[in-house]
Structures are given as C-alpha cells and as structure tokens.
C-alpha cells in the first residue's frame, strides 16, 4: 500500500531544502537565463532564422524557459541526493519504510516544483518585456511537467551513480549542458545544415523544447505527437532504470 504520509514528508523535505536557499536555487537561474535573453535576443537576433511572424526574442523565450526547467529539475534531484550521500543524512530516509517508488516520486515531484518555479520566473519577466502568445496552454503545462519529470529522474540517476561531486559535475557539464544547448533552444533546427538537423533528432531534449514551444505558437519543427511520444518514452525509461537501481539498492544500500 502506498505510504502517502511518508511520500508527502519526503516531498515536503525536498521542496523545503531548495526553498531554504531560494536565491541560489531559483532567483540565480532566473537571472542568468534572462541574461541569455538579453544577449541573444538583442545582439544576434537578426542573424537567426525562426518561425514566420515571430521575432527572435518571442521565439527564444519558450526555449529558454524549457532549458531552465530541464537544468534546474536535474540539479535538484542530483545535488540533493549527492549531498545527502556525502553528509550521510540519506541514512534517515533509508531506515524508514518509504518504498523505492515513493522515494523516487517524492524526489522527482520536488524537482518538478523547482523546475516550474524557475521556468515561471523567466516566463513572467519574458512576458512583461515581449508580446508572448499562449495558443495551447495545456501542451505548455504537459511538456513542462513531463520534461521536468524526465530531468528530475535523470538527476536522480546521476545522483545514484556519482560517488563524489566531481562525477556529478562531469555528468552535468559533458552530457546535460551540451544536450540542452544543442536542443533547439536558441534556433529552429531548420536553420541548421542537413547533417546537424538529422543529428538533432537523436537528442531527446530537442523534442521537449519543440513540443513546449508548440504550446505557445502552434508551430514546431516536428509533429507535437512525435515530441509527446519521445518525451513520454524517456520519462518511462528513466523512471524504470531508477526504480530498478533503487530496488536493488545500487550505490545506496551498500
């Protein structure tokens, strides 16, 4: 039976953890992402091809919002887990009757909250400066939540396998960062040479950005249903891997 009180306590703990350092976990990523908007939106806007009828800044904002959601959802689970492992306080949770599924759900739910909080901050500021449209809000919400869940799960995976902060930094800088930067946040893939257009289709983050952007403009590089399918498949895949590792206690219950 689902231990709801246990799940809820762990979820609240994870939310309060990032809330207690809000400047670092929410405000700083909002400001740094807005700097991208300032630099890219103002300086190189004229050199980049987007969808018809849209200014580059309008095009860029949903991409930046999604990038922030992805990076912060990942950061929340991964940093929380590795800090708990390093400080040893993960022991408190491991001694409790919380199941691997409840554990996973609580961590990922908290990462969704953080991802959405940062994304919303950027969106609000972006909407004040620029004329944004919200043609399909349900797609926006769906892709925001699914993508944050996927990245929260990926963050947990990184937190599980990492034995020190260095491992996590490698994961973040050599995998997450390049994949988010090359996911079409700053451009439509149709503006890329043929090879790079094809290569982009192998990047799962591309579908998350593309589907999310569709919610704003009803325009996308690939079908919204393809993006939804790929994103959902990755959420399920990452969740399944995590649950297998948590059930076996890999690198956690040594």
């Amino acid at each position: 039976m689902f231990n709801f009180t246990g799940f809820w306590a762990l979820f609240i703990k994870e939310v309060r953890r990032f809330y207690s350092v809000l400047v670092q976990t929410v405000f700083a990523p909002v400001v740094s992402t807005l700097l991208y908007l300032l630099v890219f939106g103002q300086v190189i806007a004229s050199q980049i091809e987007t969808y018809s009828g849209l200014s580059y800044s309008q095009f860029l904002i949903p991409g930046l919002v999604m990038m922030a959601i992805l990076q912060n959802a990942f950061a929340n689970t991964s940093s929380s887990l590795i800090q708990s492992k390093m400080h040893g306080n993960l022991t408190f949770v491991l001694l409790s009757p919380i199941s691997p599924f409840e554990f996973y759900l609580a961590f990922v739910a908290a990462s969704i909250v953080r991802g959405l909080a940062v994304g919303l901050g950027i969106l609000v500021v972006g909407a004040i400066w620029f004329d944004l449209t919200w043609l399909e809000p349900l797609w926006i919400i769906l892709f925001a939540i699914l993508s944050a869940a996927m990245m929260g799960g990926l963050g947990m995976l990184a937190g599980i396998v990492s034995e020190k902060y260095d491992h996590l930094a490698a994961f973040q800088n050599f995998i997450i960062m390049p994949l988010t930067f090359l996911s079409g946040v700053f451009y439509s893939i149709h503006a890329l040479p043929e090879f790079w257009q094809q290569a982009s289709h192998f990047n799962p983050f591309f579908y998350m950005v593309d589907g999310f952007r569709y919610g704003f403009f009803q325009q996308s590089d690939v079908s919204i249903y393809l993006s939804l399918t790929v994103t959902t498949v990755f959420v399920v895949l990452v969740s399944a891997i995590n649950l297998i590792l948590l059930n076996k206690g890999v690198k956690i219950r040594q």
């Binding site: 708990s84 408190f92 001694l95 009757p97 040594q254």
Partner: protein, 305 residues
C-alpha cells in the same frame, strides 16, 4: 521466549572482501544484547544489513519473524538504529528533522508532536530544538541520533557504538537512558568498543571476528567459562627475577607487584610456592575472575581459545 531478531547464514561480499561469512544467531525479545568485536569484524555490516542500509549477498534476517527484505516496511517500523557516524542535515533544525522522520514512518498529529517534545526533553535537547544540526557538538549530535531512532517508537533499538567519542558524563547518561528503555520492554542491541560498558549493560553477548561469530553466550556464563582467574600480588621487591613457570603466567607488571593469569583448575598452593621459590616478599594477594575485556582479548587474539 519469542525472538526479536534472527540472523540466518548472513553473507556479505564486497569486491575483494567477505565482510560476513555466514553469520547465524538469535536475539530474544527483551534482551540487552552486546555485539562485540575488533574494528573490521563485521559488526556494523551486520547491523546495517538488519536495518536495510546494506543488502546481504545471501542468507536472511528476520525481525519478529518478518524478513528485512520482503517485509521491509514492517521490520523498519520495528527497528530503530542509532548509526555510528555522527550525521547532520544542514538544512533543518532538530525539531524539523524529528517531524520529517515521523512523517516517513507515517506518524503525525498531536500525539506524535507530544512524543517528539518528550524525546527532546528526555534527551536534554529542548533548548536546542530549533538549532541547526550542523551547529551542534558531537555529544548533542549523538543525542539527536538517538531521538531520531526512537521517534517512531520501535520495539528493537540498535545502538552502533553509541558512546564512541562522548565524554564520561554523557556516557553515563546514555547508559541510564538505555537501561530505562530496556526496563520499559525494548530489546536493545549494542555494539561497543567499551567492554566495561557491555559487561555492565548486556545480559548476553556475541563476539565477532573476521565476519564470524567467535563466541555467543550469557555474559556471566561467558565470563565463568573463561579458563583463567587473575591473581594480583603486592610485593616489597618487585625487581626480583621470576622463575620460568611463574614468568610464563605474568600478564602485567606494576610498580609494587604483578598480575598473574592462573588456570582455574591449578592449585593455588602451587602458585604461591612458585612465588616463594622466586624469592618474592608478598604483602597482599587478591584473586578475581576474568573481565569481559580479558575474555574478548583471549578470543580475538590469533590462536586464542
């Protein structure tokens, strides 16, 4: 007597080390059980396997007949572990940690809040309830860990080296507290390096070495089964050379005498005769049984009985 914990052929292999080599024994309900052994004997691995912090390679462990792997929700509610390492969480105060931990066990409401207040009071933590755990002294962190282990009112309390690194006053306080918990009906499992502590508190002890149980018995039986007693001899001429048969029995030399280890079955008259032959001018002789420390050293030294 019902069993609180059963270890059945528990094996734990790490890459290049077998930490537990098929450990089997039972702990009865209501016991004050001591698990002793040198560093690296496997005590913490065994306790962590029971608590779910380590997955055993093979064998099984049951707590009140529930398996710690397949019935982990039940066994973790029955167990409270005070881990050896001093753990802190820099994001939360003591009270917040206790409330969160209660939540993990599905416990909330006014009754639970009252219990948390009682724990804080009993462990002299009330005035630090809102302090961050990372700001606490080692002794206070230890008390927080005890409160965390008791927050869900477990039947079996497991203390892994609870008095390591704490001052004498706190050690005595913790002794009294664990004795009180035992009298209230808790089963207590204690690992300790302080054998005086085990001797004073535990009614039954197991001695582990290299992942195996070397001895397991009631404390008093284990002490009485030890084949030696100890003679403390005060003399006026401690610098005299002892004759060989007596020198072989010497375990400690003091400024005004000696301590000899004597076979319980040997004749006291013979030993006193050897002293006379050595020319010792004896002023006092006292005899005592082995302490747990001596039994422990005897069992864990290479080639020991």
């Amino acid at each position: 007597m019902a069993l609180a914990v059963q270890f059945n052929q528990v094996v734990k292999n790490y890459e290049d080390l077998q930490a537990l080599k098929g450990v089997s024994f039972d702990v009865e309900e209501g016991a004050f059980f001591g698990l002793l052994g040198p560093n690296g004997a496997g005590k913490s691995t065994l306790i962590n396997a029971m608590s779910g912090l380590v997955v055993p390679t093979s064998g099984n462990i049951q707590v009140q007949s529930y398996d710690v792997i397949s019935d982990y929700r039940k066994t973790r509610r029955l167990l409270g572990l005070v881990p050896q390492e001093l753990i802190a969480d820099p994001f939360f105060s003591i009270k917040e940690l206790l409330e969160l931990q209660s939540g993990y066990f599905g416990m909330k409401g006014a009754e639970q809040k009252r219990w948390i207040g009682e724990l804080l009071e009993r462990l002299a933590l009330s005035d630090k309830a809102d302090a961050n755990t990372s700001q606490l002294s080692g002794g206070m962190k230890r008390r927080v860990l005890i409160a965390m282990a008791l927050v869900h009112k477990p039947k079996v309390l497991v203390l892994d080296e609870p008095t390591a690194g704490v001052d004498v006053d706190l050690r005595r306080t913790l002794w009294e507290f664990t004795k009180e918990l035992h009298q209230q009906g808790h089963t207590i499992i204690l690992t300790t390096h302080y054998l005086e502590e085990a001797e004073a508190l535990c009614d039954r002890v197991a001695i582990m070495q290299k992942g195996q149980i070397k001895a397991l018995d009631d404390t008093q039986t284990l002490l009485s089964k030890h084949p030696y007693r100890y003679l403390r001899v005060n003399v006026t001429n401690p610098k005299v050379d002892l004759i060989a048969p007596l020198a072989e029995r010497l375990v400690e030399k003091e400024s005004n005498g000696f301590v000899f280890q004597v076979d319980k079955t040997s004749s006291m008259t013979e030993t006193l005769g050897l002293m006379e032959k050595s020319g010792l001018d004896v002023t006092d002789v006292s005899s005592r049984d082995a302490t747990l420390e001596e039994v422990f050293l005897d069992l864990t030294s290479e080639g020991g009985v």
